[in-house]
Symmetry: C2
Subunit: 448 residues, 2 copies
Amino acid sequence: MGENSLLLTDLYQLSMLEAYAAHGMADTAVFELFVRKLPPERGFLLAAGLEQAVRFLEQMRFTEDELAWLTDSGLFAKDFLRGLAALRFTGDVDAMPEGTAFFPDEPVLRVTAPLPQAQLVETRLINLVHFQTVIASKAARMVLAASGRQLVDFGLRRAHGAEAGLLAARAAWLAGFDASATVMAGREFGIPIVGTMAHSFVQAHDDEATAFERFARVRPNALTLLIDTYDTERGAATVARLAPRLVAEGITVAAVRLDSGDLAAHARAVRGILDSAGLRQIRILASGGLDERRILALCRSGAPIDGFGVGTSLTTAADAPALDCAYKLQEYAGRARRKRSEGKATWPGRKQVYRRYRPDGTIAGDVVGLREETIEGEPLLQPAMRNGKRVASLPGLMEARARAASSLRGLPAALRRLEPGSVPVAISPGIRQLAAELDRASQPDAAR
Amino acid sequence: MGENSLLLTDLYQLSMLEAYAAHGMADTAVFELFVRKLPPERGFLLAAGLEQAVRFLEQMRFTEDELAWLTDSGLFAKDFLRGLAALRFTGDVDAMPEGTAFFPDEPVLRVTAPLPQAQLVETRLINLVHFQTVIASKAARMVLAASGRQLVDFGLRRAHGAEAGLLAARAAWLAGFDASATVMAGREFGIPIVGTMAHSFVQAHDDEATAFERFARVRPNALTLLIDTYDTERGAATVARLAPRLVAEGITVAAVRLDSGDLAAHARAVRGILDSAGLRQIRILASGGLDERRILALCRSGAPIDGFGVGTSLTTAADAPALDCAYKLQEYAGRARRKRSEGKATWPGRKQVYRRYRPDGTIAGDVVGLREETIEGEPLLQPAMRNGKRVASLPGLMEARARAASSLRGLPAALRRLEPGSVPVAISPGIRQLAAELDRASQPDAAR
């Protein structure tokens, strides 16, 4: 399907490029990517997807094949299309490193490049950064809810396509998940991959015990048995009966998985059955329609669950599958720009986000200021690309995961408990003044 | 990223295959894909994604490269991995043709194949069919709400990755959308592609009128101007002023687009401004946070809107981004199978869905029966693959779109109005009897 293709764009980007080309509009443009407001279910977001965005920009070019198709479409002038063959990304990117917690109105990524380049990349850049940010932000809530218990991504089947499944595995791991069931996520990103067994395996055998034994022999070192195909407690009793025989073969049952019914009640009953059989070391994993609210409730109920497999609610971010984000022109040819559409006005200029911390290391508040203003705090936007090349210091996935863990520790206590709360974000006097100046200057516009 | 790779699977599928291989379990398995229950916001679903599922099955194989990686992973026995090199899909698929309306408990797709093949394909098969079904079902609601007005997919940027954006464009078009903004959807699927302009284009110019004129010259035959960057009504007045000059150059303004504020009020005001200038032929398009509820409200309010651009709510199916669907073993080695997990029990056996119609052509009700039962009605599952090859009669995208239109006409009136409602789905006596027999036969299981 060609996930690197520049045809992964909106038609209007190409139309605008044709008009820019006709008038030689190739001065430096500054676009910023930000979230206008949080979904009601979110108190913070976690930046993710920068690595894929940088990779996209580094390799972007139209292939001959694509240009031939565009020519055949008859939608564009041939001279313009010929010019596209040489198009590369030669600009700069500044961005919050992956794993940084952020809030509305804060630019997470800034592109500074000749106008046509910065315009064309809008669609895929949002597509890549938005999605992983959606998933990392959702996964982070599960990480907070599970407070140290194991979390595994089971979501590929219900993810929105292949790329969604893979990038969700990455974003979840970045946010603190322990592993993914998706084999390709292991290959592409080096994420630990783990697996249990499916109901169909049990069903394909005439009885559950035979199924368990056969599965045990192919997974002797990482054996998790699914015990709810027919009756959870009977399944646990079968495991208790088989375990000594398996141990004699050198096979350890590492865990059992519950996937239906009242998970807390079943976990207690199963724990009792296993403990009575002296199998205290067998862990209990739960899955089946879990999200962070259910995980939090199960943990608070004291249910003896050691880990959670989470699928649909993670990889679709079911309660907030999209963010109200935008990639907007803030400056062109050295002049700040401002969109003033009702309810969607933007703050103009090249910006930086300054973060201040309390003595205990938690975030006190952020200020969004102009890049050239002097504002106290840690500047969150860092160089990611210069002149079309990634900077050597761009953090890798392990660093992003460490940063995410640190970001979660830095959240106010209410947000860590998934309770309503917020971090104050101030817009600097410099930005407000610039916006007022632009609004005044544009009043004559109506008369033209 | 390799959207055809067999590593796009859950690790447990490979573990189960290893156990099947160890015990020569390769008899015929029958798996069915179905939805357990509808999300609260849905009264019907529209089947989609079969074409991609068939393509996946036709070409499925492990590459040498993938097998080498699996070998290096140390997770599997080498003999087993060597055997995977020859793995192909040689089975049958029966499915509801794309564009068919369906309801809970109805199998939409059945795989009949040697157990390892049918097992391995589960993850990607669900991934492909689930997603397009989610989107086609959402898009169908917008088609019903818009009652004939133009609908365009604007969703790529907020879709969950590249494949999601592309397949959402396909599913939306299948369901009755008129076009997509995604260039690659035009290339891959032959879907009409259309585009307007972005706010950044207007902002990059010193005034809106110059931006409009420049854009007009590159889109003389399909010109839509975005008029809300600064002030919607002033934008409309600028269009009215420019239009005669453009006509003199042979350029027609086809439409204006509103993207913010009270769309109904702005549409009325803009219509007035354009009509006063004798520009009755200029159409008004609306976009910005639209979903089927807003579209329905705008249409019922009589707002003079001729078409809608829909992004996020379409490509993420924001109110129901996933379905409670499953792919379950219903028969193995000639014996029906039943999962009995609490709240997730399945109906056993190879099934068919029989649909009966009222004299006016709307659906009276469905019966899910065993394939060999004699039940009145149109059988919905049709051959899609035989012996690993697609059948010649597999409908293409145009046929699917026609079927979707016919399916929507066949829905009960309440569902067509997006009101609560349902279609009765009966489970046949044959299935109920088979389930009871399996439950009785399996009681001794506990004692083993």
